[in-house]
């Protein structure tokens, strides 16, 4: 034993070892090749017009027309240059700076839109608005997933929490005519679903994945049953919730392009702006977050220093349910305006994917949720023009997640004790 320990000390000396990872340049190169095939070899003719402002906007921005074939060649050259630059950075400094990834992604996305939407026009503000609308439930679901998994309970039940939130918020808001009460009802519904998850996984030590899957089936069955027996009997009384009105934030909403997208939204969307930084700050900069992460990483150590593991897990899983329930309310009070059977349609699983793709980090998970929402929106934007069938756009989040867990897009490692019940000895 002692020999091993000494050797460890020698290795862990003050030398900085830079591990060169060629993964990112290789991925960038692959995408540059893809760009060559799509934008140049399969290049299309015509001009794509990007419309950047609604006619009602205060500040008008002229539409931008981009010739498809020329821009394809330019973009491919740029992307190849970025890939080579990335390889050079790995050779000389060992890693690729983040700005190369971001610029690469931006150029690829814009050119992809230009190529796929040709020869029509793209309504940029509408597209971004819809992206936000499609992402909001994913973001809330992902935040709930991050908290729950960080505290050590695998949350497959996000789907059930979203669905329960949607159902209860629609019903309560319809009866009371108060969307705000519906929002609170959605949180309570999410908490109740979490109670089932917590009771069975923490108290009765049933495997968390199984409880999650069964809860999802249970909620689907229950909401479908109540929908067809109660809600559809008197839809005007029970299933016509008032929706949240969009609120203009005075100056900010006048900024061209991003103003209407981000600052002319309903209350639930503004809650996202508050919730994401709050969860991030809470997780990484408060005592609550430290304890939560300790319980999820090493419950025995947390218990040793006096943290009540069972109680911490129970209440934080409940909190996760409340947040995911908010996301459910967005379906009925924010976008659609009425409950329908299985209206969440697997969004909970995409939120789970966002948690993993975002590496259990609230900010990254939010970005992942936005990306997945954008991929979802693209099928509507490109539905008439795109040479790629919409099903493949819908598939994208799932494929990306499999690539992520397979370790092709960087190392993915969850909280160490996530999924394991803790039994105090």
């Amino acid at each position: 034993m002692t020999v091993v320990a000494e050797r460890n000390i020698v290795v862990a000396g003050p030398t900085t070892v830079v591990i060169k990872s060629w993964k990112i340049p290789i991925i960038l190169g692959a995408f540059a090749l893809l760009a060559l095939v799509l934008f140049v070899i399969l290049g299309r003719n015509g001009t794509t017009t990007f419309i950047l402002a609604e006619p009602t906007d205060f500040l008008q921005v002229a539409p931008i027309g981009i010739p498809v074939r020329a821009s394809g060649i330019v973009a491919t050259v740029l992307l190849a240059a970025f890939a080579v630059l990335g390889a050079w950075f790995v050779r000389s400094r060992g890693r690729v700076p983040l700005w190369i990834d971001i610029l690469f992604g931006f150029v690829f996305l814009v050119e992809f839109l230009t190529w796929a939407a040709a020869p029509a026009s793209v309504q940029v503000p509408g597209m971004l608005l819809q992206t936000i609308a499609l992402s909001v439930p994913l973001i809330f679901g992902a935040l709930g997933g991050v908290i729950s998994e960080r505290v050590g309970v695998v949350n497959i039940a996000i789907e059930g929490q979203l669905l329960a939130g949607a159902f209860v918020s629609a019903m309560i808001a319809s009866i009371t005519h108060q969307p705000l009460l519906g929002l609170i009802g959605a949180m309570v519904a999410g908490v109740l679903v979490s109670f089932i998850l917590a009771a069975f996984s923490i108290k009765y030590l049933v495997d968390q994945v199984i409880v999650g899957v069964v809860i999802n089936v249970f909620i689907v069955g229950l909401t479908n049953f109540l929908y067809s027996t109660v809600l559809s009997e008197s839809p005007e009384l029970l299933n016509s919730p008032p929706r949240f009105e969009a609120i203009d934030i005075p100056v900010l909403s006048q900024i061209p392009v991003i103003g209407p997208t981000f600052f002319r939204q309903s209350l639930i969307v503004y809650l996202v702006y508050v919730a994401v930084p709050l969860v991030w700050f809470g997780l990484f900069h408060t005592r609550w977050g430290l304890r939560l992460r300790a319980v999820g990483e090493h419950p025995q150590a947390a218990d040793t220093v006096g943290i009540n593991v069972t109680r911490t897990r129970f209440w934080n899983v409940s909190l996760a349910g409340a947040i995911a329930g908010l996301g459910g309310a967005f379906f009925t009070l924010g976008s659609v305006g009425a409950f329908s059977r299985e209206m969440t349609g697997g969004q909970g699983y995409i939120a789970l994917a966002a948690v993993i793709f975002g590496r259990w980090d609230p900010i990254r998970a939010t970005v992942a949720a936005l990306l997945f929402g954008f991929a979802n929106e693209l099928q509507y934007v490109l539905q008439d023009t795109s040479p790629i069938p919409s099903e493949f756009m819908l598939m994208l989040p799932y494929v990306v997640t499999i690539l992520a867990v397979a370790g092709l897009v960087g190392q993915v490692r969850g909280p160490a004790a996530s999924g394991k019940p803790y039994i105090k000895s």
Binding site: L205, I210, V214, L222, Y349, I402, A406, G407
Partner: protein, 432 residues
Amino acid sequence: MSDQIPGSGQPQEDLEVSQVPPAARAPEPSVATTVLRQIVTGNALISLLAVLLALIVGAILIVAVDPVVQQTAGYFFSRPSDMLQAMWNAASGAYSSLFQGAIYNFGAADFASGIRPLTLTLTFATPLIVAGLGVALSFRVGLFNIGGQAQILTGAVCAGYVGFAFDLPPVIHLIAAIVAGVVGGALVGALVGVLKARTGAHEVIVTIMLNYIVLYLLRFLLRTPGALQAPGGNNPKTPPMKSTAIYPLLLGPNYTLHLGFIVSILATIVVWYLLNRSNLGFQFRAVGENPNAARVAGINVKNIYVWALAISAGLVGLAGVAQVLGTVTSGFGESIDAGVGFDAITVALLGRSRPWGVFAAGLLFGALKAGGFAMQANNSVPIDIILVVQSLIVLFIAAPPLVRAIFRLPQPPGSRKLRTPRPSSKKVVVTR
């Protein structure tokens, strides 16, 4: 698989108990007491009580939404008997429809038509049994195959394509279609297994994601002429199966029961033999009990993961075969899986991952499904109530202490142990 794994926190306690000779632990109880105790603390009783509890909750839901009950509740204090009568009528009416729709229809003219519900139950049970066997097999290896939906759809597509696109002699055509479906499902499972073995990707995430990938792929193929869409049709639906490829009906044209049910019995026997008598099955169980120990014993754990997921998914694919070649032979759409992929998980759990347990659980859920349709038609109780009952059954079965507490049964000795439906594969081994 043992149902009860000692918790990592109490190895010493178990050691001490096992060192004490059995006779010295307690005074020898009488035979009658022992038998009674085994019945009361046994798994069979828990399963029975779990089903009972779930049916009670289902009845409460049915009663609560019944319009007559709500009407009579308005004057409950002046005439309470009306409401109680209405409640009884709602619950007993629904459950009697459930029974008559699943087992035997007492209103039928003769035995031949009265027994039809039972054959319907067996038809519904067929895909549930084979898919449940597949999921159960993965549980025994300590893996979670949640991708039943993807594997059923793949099995259905492969078997269906062979079934409608090729012209082959009668028996050979059927066999070719079955093999295609099983291999198709198995390939999806093998992909998951390879990803897990090579990269450590968690099979739960990969299988969930594959469910959607396969669904969208199928949706694309179904609306693309020349792929799976029936020629000349506008609907996303395949052409009907050729008559040479479909499972023959077992009891003549009046009943829906088809050869797939015999196949599911054979599959149960094969899985039983595989798990309990074969070399490969022994390795499966060894990896399921403790992958570290299995590796030390010379078992190639990664290969076992790939094989287990391939065989598991192949069985689930066989459920897809039963769907397209037996239940719906007139061409299929994207909902051909009929929720069997997720039902299979509950079937496997209810059957405690034992082949014949899964068989019985499949029969029960098949009966619930068949009866659920009758209940929906006769009592206007939505079939979704069956989903509620099924999920409650599994939740209760997974937590025996809860069921014992509700019925005030004695807790079995050593009940402070960790329960998992599968052996915890990442158990920390502490050596001193």
